[in-house]
Amino acid sequence: MRLPTWLTQHLAALRALLVFTVVLGLAYPLALVIAGQLPGLSGKADGSLITEGGTTVGSSLIGQSFTDADGNPVPRYFQSRPSAAGDGYDPTSTSASNLGPESVVDTLSTDPEAASESLLTQVCARSKAVGELDGVDGRRPYCTTDGVGAVLAVFRADGLTGTVTRVVSVNQAAPATPFVSSWQGVPVELARPGEDYVAAGGLIVPVRGDAPAEPAVPSDAVTASGSGLDPHISPAYARIQVARVARERGADPAAVRALVEKHTTGRSLGFMGEPGVNVLELNLALDERFPAR
């Protein structure tokens, strides 16, 4: 029996796909799973798990939160970066924030479900919190001293032009104090939750302020990573945490600094990537050297 050509082609396609599925979809990956059990690869293929006193405490490649049950930082540990993966460092729900570079206006609302923070306010709030925890200056450009984005909605007489008629600090609601009292002679109002000042015709103006150009809190401390699982912090962020960790553990800051140094990975071959400090490995080493009192 001769089958029509359109059918023979699809039969050839089906047979080809099945053969490729066996070769590429089963034999190839399973052979590599077996290869992954060879010495030298086995620990890595299984996830670089770290076992401490008989229990598995994590993976050296996957970051962790060093916070208590309420989400507050545990001061005796070096802190990881902010994370957008689930409730933080959840490998079953990896994610970035995906907020854009001009995400500067919060949605204020009395209903916590409807409220959302702009990326700018998240950055400002983190910077303030890290500054307070580690005793450094937490100010940043475009941030208010109360830790939100310093952003005004400016209303003008003729839309984009004309005299300023009204100015609102869009990310600050009562009982805050506006971060500037007046703008081009017009007193600055606080925002009212639920109002959309952009839709009302306000021109969004972020205000730089007088914070130092190089903030004391490093950039990786105030930004979420792409994976939400970043195992590293920058050496700069580790540096500002040394004093606190040493104090909490009654250790010599120089010894803690040496441990940080030891757990810093430089660039591969001297030019690939940037140096990073593996936070989990560093904290494990601290627990061993300077057990909590």
């Binding site: 039969l11 490093p218 195992p231 940037e274």
Partner: protein, 551 residues
């Protein structure tokens, strides 16, 4: 060394490596696609598939074979996802919803690898390795096969025959993709990429919390994801995930793998048409566009314009400490210049102009160097258009490699070029007209960029995203699925038809009036035509999105 210097050395080292492999690897691929000797495994494959490897196909039969194979693949992948809960290694996940399964099936078969879902919470290990990873191999091989068929059209004369799709497919998979994948996977595993069948390990963290360390056959999929310019991550966060891309040197390897085949294919083209210098000219066009784009993306990201990057002090949101800004920008440029779409940082949080560059890279039609195969055939189409434009300027019949670019040829080339802009612009307009743009996370110009990026990525078969937008709704899954399908197979049909009509021609010997297509003049003209065509097509849309945000 500052970050900028290290970033420059990083790019130069990639350039040096690609230059070093251009000849040997290109020559190797040339022998694979033009050789006739058969290994025992290949003979077995041909017997199982039921094809006669010596029988050549006309463009119509070649195209129907491509379409039949892809149709069956979509169907198979759809069914696999719909019944995954009944299969081995499902990890207890539910069957994928119908509109999602359709989208993913199309996405992986078209070499797009757009992902509306989170890998770690949607796809079982069997679907990942026997469904998705298999398509990573074969969809890449389909692209290369079509490019080779087009080059045969230039190289052959007075024939209807363009080769045999099944033979091309088999040889490309078994002799090019699989061996490199095995070596690459072992290297990545050595760096820490996982390769196991674990459903996850529960651990108690130092502060007493719990964490589930995920598992999976990741390395085997990771390597072909880059090598085949596919880009579909095992996990939601793709190559930013430490289990997909654990170190700064695995990052280098992944970028190298992304660029390896696309940048070496011009050598295959040069060898097949018997003039290596023609290959160098095409590679030069790719290199000029790619270097310009990588440089600009790095400049925009390192300068950190935009309110939030200024407040932070660097464009570090959505980027990993180990890659930081420069190596993330280089990866992002490489992934959008090709049809890869893998990401090691999140494009949505890039600076306005940096993100705009990534959009522009895809809008170029992904020809610098483009997806595996797709980049070469895309650039050859642009070369044909350039020859035509140049012919109009001096009033001569345009020819390329001795083949006349007549009305049928230029019609096919124009149709090829028009497919993606039509899909991108109507798709974006449709999203706004129907209110489906409301699923964008960001507002204002950036919200428009998210929608525009989604359609650009799908229609060009890239697969990266401004990932803030929620695209798991039936409307988005259906619309983007259609864009991926039409954006892949309409151009392939036009390319094969063009190959058929070129192969039939008797070559005209070069005369004094022939425009030499291996000289810097021609290289410059192709670059110019590419940039101008894209600027004319997309500038209005870009002006409303990234340019409005960044300027």
């Amino acid at each position: 060394m500052t970050m900028t210097t290290a970033g420059v050395v990083f790019v130069l080292s990639l350039v040096a490596a690609l230059v070093a492999v251009y000849k040997p690897f290109g020559d190797y691929m040339f022998r694979v696609v033009s050789g006739t000797e058969q290994s025992r495994m290949e003979r077995g494959m041909y017997r199982l598939v039921g094809v006669n490897p010596a029988a050549e196909q006309s463009w119509g039969v070649y195209a129907r074979s491509v379409l039949a194979f892809s149709a069956i693949s979509i169907l198979f992948l759809y069914l696999l996802q719909r019944v995954q809960d009944k299969l081995w290694l499902s990890l207890g996940f539910d069957p994928v919803v119908p509109h999602g399964a359709w989208n993913t099936a199309v996405s992986f078969v078209t070499n797009t690898n757009w992902q509306w879902y989170s890998g770690e919470s949607t796809m079982g290990h069997l679907v990942q390795m026997a469904g998705l990873a298999v398509q990573n191999f074969v969809s890449a091989a389909v692209g290369i096969a079509v490019a080779v068929a087009l080059v045969r059209g230039f190289a052959r004369s007075r024939t209807g025959e363009l080769g045999n799709f099944w033979v091309d497919l088999t040889r490309i998979v078994l002799r090019i993709l699989l061996p490199i994948a095995v070596l690459g996977a072992l290297a990545l595993m050595f760096g820490g990429v996982v390769q196991n069948l674990s459903g996850g390990t529960d651990v108690t963290t130092l502060t007493g919390g719990t964490q589930t360390i995920t598992g999976g056959p990741v390395a085997s999929q990771e390597v072909i994801k880059e090598l085949g310019t596919n880009g579909g991550g095992f996990y939601n966060v793709n190559s930013a995930h430490p289990f997909e891309n654990p170190t700064t040197w695995t990052n280098w390897i992944e970028i190298f793998l992304i660029l390896l085949i696309p940048f070496s294919l011009p050598r295959v083209f040069g060898r097949m048409v018997g003039q290596n210098r023609q290959g160098y000219a095409i590679a030069a066009v790719m290199a000029i566009l790619a270097l310009a784009s990588i440089t600009l993306t790095n400049v925009f990201e390192l300068s950190g314009h935009g309110t939030v990057p200024q407040a932070v002090g660097a464009a570090l949101e959505g980027k990993e400490v180990r890659f930081d800004v420069s190596n993330s920008a280089t990866f992002a440029a490489a992934t959008t210049l090709t049809s890869t779409g893998a990401v090691n940082s999140f494009h949505d949080s890039f600076t306005p102009l940096g993100g705009g560059m990534l959009l522009g890279n895809m809008m170029l039609g992904e020809v610098a160097p483009g997806g595996v195969g797709a980049g070469l055939y895309g650039l050859l189409i642009l070369a044909v258009i350039t020859v035509f434009v140049a012919g109009l300027m001096v009033g001569r019949t345009p020819e390329y490699l001795g083949k006349k670019i007549g009305s049928r040829e230029i019609k096919l080339a124009s149709l090829y070029f028009l497919v993606t802009p039509a899909l991108v612009l109507t798709g974006t307009a449709a999203a706004f007209a129907t209110g489906n743009n409301s699923t964008a996370l960001n507002v204002g110009p950036h919200g428009l960029s998210e929608v525009l990026y989604a359609f650009t990525s799908a229609s060009n078969n890239n697969g990266s995203a401004f990932a803030g937008i929620t695209v798991s709704t039936p409307w988005w899954n259906t619309a983007l699925g259609l864009c991926m399908l039409l954006g892949r197979f309409l151009p392939i049909i036009f390319v094969l038809a063009l190959a058929g009509s070129l192969a039939r021609q008797q070559p005209t010997p070069a005369s004094e009036g022939t425009l030499p297509t291996h000289r810097p003049l021609f290289v410059g003209m192709v670059v110019g035509v590419t940039v101008i065509l894209v600027a004319l097509t997309f500038l209005p849309a870009l002006a409303l999105g990234p340019l409005a945000e960044g300027l």
